[in-house]
């Protein structure tokens, strides 16, 4: 017993040790070593974020240096706090608070004491910084906006959040990432690729040389510069016109699908979301739930399209062969659906395709619409044929633009009504409003602009996009250079375009004429409702206008949608005509009109539903 006691102890100790070691080194071992290892610090080298230029090569977004005052708490010495705070432009309390925070984070690692110094403060501070041991100024790069416009298109960047970190291994805490607009959509190109150096540290967190002699290190790859299709001048001009109005404007070059301008009103200066005041400004914008400045109406608002939609119904009827350009309908200052009469403002009389469009006759289009589904055995079957035609213009579904958001709008079909009313329980009166772009149809301004571009092209469109060129790549995504054909034959467009030209010549848009420019357009006046205290209340009509110009070889197709602007030609039409003139001529000849449109606001209109008092809609004064 005594002889084997020691030997047994030796063997048992050996087994226990090997057991413990296998637990540590085999079962607890984590393969993700290099990032968890406290002895290896990854130092990142961030390339400059790519610049963004407009379609004419004008710089929209660059970068600016920002200066953070950093502190390494253990290196600091006693100092004249008051003088130092004065230089930094902060109070003593803020200083003490930040210092405590920095110490709590780490006494050896740098923390930000004052973020993003103003340039003047930086100049003043720079010379005196030597006096303050443990404090230094670190340069950072921020976005610099050379325009006050296009915030909705450009988007903004912000620090990555928890979910970014979880979902994308590229990002580390504190890094920036595009959140909306182009900054988000083309994030990978704009940011480039950060370089990394792995540094071997000792336990005091001091650098003691490169890890593995820099074998794993990478060089940063510069962000690419982006050229976008936005026209800076037009965008800025449009945003000036939109001051005091709510709505969306989208203009497209029909021959390429390039988005010339994309305006949402009200908007904000993109520079608000950069720098020291960022979070204050963001909160203010984000929580404005009445005018919603961060909600991009040009691509997210889905109102009923109104009368511009009539052009598509005309095209579908022509394609189905149920009318020709001479087919006539009588307007009784309205039309009958069963026993109910629905109104029309066209003046009444016999309407054909041409006058039906340029006078925007509801009766004509109700008749046309009936003929379309009347061709088929059941209304339901007809609806689906109609839906197919409408959708071929990019309506009723996501358009597939290169903006990171969007809405599908709505083209109702049999399934839609079956769901709402039950199969076989809906009839032509249920759907007749769709003939004039009211009822269940809905479209975003960009869809309306795209639809107009398809008419301008006489039967096809390019998916609207804002990207023009990425770095020195010779081409963009093929998705944006392919034609999407509509289901309407080219020959049917001629009479409709002619009628749209007459809208401008003699019709509902005759007030908008621009000397020397021929426009094809269509006005829309859209009834709309809201709920006040649970009660459905009608508001002043939305003003809508779609147009393209010139008629031969169109350069611009646009849709303007102004909330509660009343007649189509009143706000939307005027703004559209100014934009077309600006774009095609480069200058405005109708300065009186321009002045009026710049100055007029609809704020009193928008205040009505919130006033709590009874109010008039569609007031005539103008």
């Amino acid at each position: 017993m005594k002889k084997i006691l020691l030997s047994s102890i030796i063997v048992i100790v050996g087994i226990v040790f090997i057991g413990r070691l296998s637990y540590l080194q085999i079962f607890s071992f984590s393969p993700n070593q290099i990032l968890e290892d406290p002895a290896i610090k990854a130092v990142y080298d961030y390339p400059e974020r790519g610049y963004i230029y407009d379609r004419n090569g004008e710089l929209l977004v660059g970068n600016q240096p920002a200066y953070d005052v950093m502190v390494i708490p253990r290196d600091t010495k006693a100092l004249d706090t008051l003088e130092f705070c004065g230089l930094l432009g902060i109070t003593k309390e803020q200083f003490i608070k930040q210092m405590i925070r920095a110490e709590r984070y780490s006494t050896r690692l740098p923390s930000v004491l004052v973020p993003q110094l103003a340039k003047e403060d930086y100049a003043r501070l720079q010379e005196k910084m030597r006096k303050y041991k443990g404090y230094y100024i670190q340069k950072r790069s921020l976005r610099d906006y050379l325009t006050h416009s296009a915030a909705n298109v450009l988007g903004y960047i912000s620090e990555v959040n928890e979910s970014d970190l979880r979902n994308n291994p590229y990002y580390r805490a504190g890094e920036l990432r595009g959140r909306t607009g182009i900054e988000k959509q083309y994030e990978d190109m704009l940011r480039g690729r950060k370089g990394v150096k792995y540094i071997q540290k000792d336990r005091f967190n001091r650098d003691i040389g490169p890890y593995k002699n820099g074998k794993l290190d990478t060089l940063p790859k510069l962000g690419k510069e982006l050229h976008i299709t936005i026209d800076k001048t037009l965008q800025e001009y449009g945003e000036r016109l939109m001051v005091g109005k709510r709505g969306g404007i989208v203009a497209i070059e029909p021959s390429s699908g390039e988005i010339l301008t994309m305006i949402s009103g009200p908007t904000y200066d993109p520079a608000l979301l950069v720098g020291r005041e960022r979070s204050k400004n963001y909160t203010k914008l984000h929580y404005d739930s009445i005018s919603k400045p961060v909600w991009d109406r040009s691509i997210l608002a889905e109102p009923s399209p109104g009368s511009p939609f009539k052009t598509l119904n005309a095209l579908a009827a022509l394609q189905e062969g149920v009318i020709d350009s001479d087919t006539k309908f009588r307007c009784y200052n309205g039309f009958y659906v069963g026993k109910n009469k629905k109104g029309c403002h066209c003046g009444g009389g016999v309407r054909n395709l041409n006058s039906g469009i340029f006078n925007s006759c509801n009766a004509y289009f109700a008749g046309t619409f009936r003929k379309i589904y009347g061709k088929y055995k059941t209304t339901a079957e007809g609806m689906d044929v109609w839906e197919k035609h409408m959708k071929s213009f990019g309506l009723g579904n996501y358009l597939g633009t290169d903006m990171p958001t969007g809405r599908p709008g709505r083209i109702p079909n049999k399934k839609f009504y079956d769901k709402w009313y039950g199969e076989g329980r809906w009839y032509s009166p249920t759907i007749i409003s769709n003939s004039i772009g009211q009822g269940e149809v809905a479209a975003t301004p960009i869809q309306l602009a795209n639809m107009t571009a398809a008419i301008a092209n006489q039967g096809f469109y390019y998916t609207p996009h804002v990207i023009k060129q990425i770095g020195d790549q010779s081409s963009i995504d093929v998705k944006y250079t392919q034609r999407n054909y509509t289901t309407i034959d080219k020959k049917h467009f001629k009479p409709v375009i002619e009628a749209m030209a007459n809208v401008y010549r003699y019709g509902t848009a005759r007030w908008l004429q621009i000397p020397g420019i021929e426009i094809a357009g269509k006005t829309g006046t859209v009834e709309n409702f809201t709920r006040i205290d649970g009660e459905r209340v009608q508001l002043t009509d939305h003003s809508v206008f779609v147009a393209f110009a010139p008629i031969e070889n169109p350069k611009i197709a646009l849709a303007v949608y102004i909330e509660n602007g009343y007649y189509g030609s009143r706000y939307a039409g005027h703004i559209a005509s100014l934009l077309i003139e600006k774009y095609l001529k480069g200058e405005i000849t109708r300065t009186d009109l321009e002045k009026r449109m710049l100055e007029k606001t609809l704020e009193q209109e928008y205040a009505k539903p919130y006033s709590g008092a009874p109010f008039q809609i569609n007031e005539y004064e103008w």
């Binding site: 017993m1 005594k2 002889k3 006691l5 020691l6 030997s7 102890i9 030796i10 063997v11 100790v13 050996g14 226990v16 040790f17 090997i18 413990r20 070691l21 296998s22 540590l24 080194q25 085999i26 607890s28 071992f29 984590s30 393969p31 070593q33 290892d37 406290p38 002895a39 290896i40 071997q200 540290k201 000792d202 336990r203 003691i208 040389g209 890890y211 593995k212």
Partner: protein, 426 residues
């Protein structure tokens, strides 16, 4: 006796294992103390250079020991013992203080640590006393003398302060047990430690309940036997409960905070996460970093000179007491398991050598040094891999340090010399 026959009779297996340990130890010392500037491995301004020199000195010492008369050690053991006592006393007057402990003589190029020498001397003295024909370990008076031989150096070393080294001397009790001291003492010590640790961990109430259950079970299963000595059993129970009750007093009043923290860490006593974090950053820092370093090595390790935590010097004392963590990081499980196996085979072989000695002195000396080396190995590795509380003692043949290596080598080769000449002395 001719030198040739000594060489023939030497136990070359032990020497081989010894050389493997020393060589692998040096490789790890090289890795842990390598700096950016390139030095020759013979550059004595570096630690690995110095250690190479110490290895050379040790081997020369080994050859000298082998060439001495085999009864030299027995004859002069008393002289060695007295010399070591003198040296230990002398530390109070002429000692050099390193890291708070006055444990060294400054010899200019080299700091001599007499407590290392004292281990060898005490082992020899112990063997000499016990093998004396007039000594009978079963006699109380002789037991007292034997214990005194162990306690004198302990008393001199504890105030240096170097409690870790002092602890080692208690390992010499193994020799006493081997030579006939009742195992009951060992049992008592074991029960005492068990009571202490379990009371700390589970509290007095649970320990008392456990003791009650155990005693009842014992009675229940031995009901039929008339041979149960009831009185001692009840006595044991009462004493156990008293000890358990006094644990908290000893822990809180006798122990110092740093000792308490070590136990807190080891037994996971601290539940307050803030305090636990503080312990991890202070006293538990070494253990935590060592464990992490070993863990990060994985199965195959990061490779020689590739250990990031070793390079970053994350584990303090990684070239001395914590060298095993560097083995774990750079050589992985393969390396650590290899070292454990080598040590296990080495110790088993030494036990075999000790047991085959015909002379009592040789056998007792053998047991003495096995106990000393084994406790070093057990406490050191156990501490580094987080099984035992932190006690600062080196890993024999492996850790950096001249005194340690030279006297561990001397201890070993004295045994080998005695073994080589065992047949002749019959």
């Amino acid at each position: 006796m001719s030198g040739r026959s000594t060489l023939k009779r030497l136990d070359w297996l032990t020497i081989l294992l010894y050389l493997v340990l020393v060589a692998f130890g040096w490789v790890n010392i090289y890795s842990t103390t390598l700096t950016e500037e390139a030095h020759s491995i013979f550059d004595f301004s570096t630690r690995y250079g110095k250690q190479l020199f110490f290895i050379g000195v040790s081997l020369v010492g080994a050859v000298i020991i082998l060439s001495l008369e085999s009864n030299f050690f027995e004859r002069f053991s008393s002289v060695f013992y007295i010399a070591c006592i003198v040296l230990l006393v002398g530390l109070f007057l002429f000692g050099k203080t390193i890291a708070g402990a006055t444990s060294w003589y400054d010899l200019g190029f080299f700091n001599l640590q007499p407590s290392e020498f004292a281990k060898l001397a005490t082992a020899l003295a112990m063997a000499k006393y016990l093998s004396d024909i007039q000594t009978d370990i079963r006699r109380g008076k002789d037991q007292l003398y034997a214990i005194l031989i162990i306690l004198i150096p302990v008393i001199l070393i504890v105030p240096q302060p170097d409690p870790g080294s002092a602890l080692i001397y208690f390992s010499l009790f193994f020799v006493l047990f081997r030579e006939g001291l009742s195992l009951r003492y060992l049992g008592f010590a074991f029960v005492l430690i068990l009571l202490f640790v379990s009371t700390l961990k589970f509290g007095v109430v649970w320990v008392c309940i456990g003791l009650g259950v155990l005693t009842s079970l014992f009675f229940f299963f031995k009901k039929d036997s008339y041979k149960i000595a009831k009185l001692p059993l009840i006595l044991f129970l009462v004493v156990s409960v008293l000890i358990s009750l006094s644990v908290n007093f000893v822990f809180n009043e006798v122990f110092e905070q740093r000792h308490r923290d070590r136990f807190s860490l080891w037994l996971s006593l601290e539940e307050d996460p803030v305090k636990l974090e503080k312990i991890k950053k202070t006293i538990g820092y070494n253990t935590y970093q060592a464990e992490k370093a070993i863990e990060s090595g994985g199965f195959l390790g990061k490779g020689f000179l590739e250990g990031t935590r070793t390079k970053g010097d994350f584990v303090p004392e990684q070239h001395t007491d914590y060298i095993f963590s560097s083995v774990g990081e750079e050589w992985g499980f393969v390396g650590t398991a290899f070292i454990i196996i080598i040590f296990t085979v080495f110790f088993l072989r030494l036990v075999q050598l000790a047991e085959r000695q015909k002379r009592d002195f040789s056998r007792m000396y053998g047991y003495g040094i096995i106990s000393i080396l084994l406790v070093h190995y057990f406490v050191n590795v156990g501490m580094v891999i987080g099984l035992l509380p932190t006690v600062g003692i080196p890993l024999p043949f492996f850790s950096y340090g001249g005194s340690g290596l030279i006297f561990f080598t001397a201890m070993l080769f004295v045994l080998l010399k005695l073994d080589a000449s065992r047949l002749k002395e019959l």
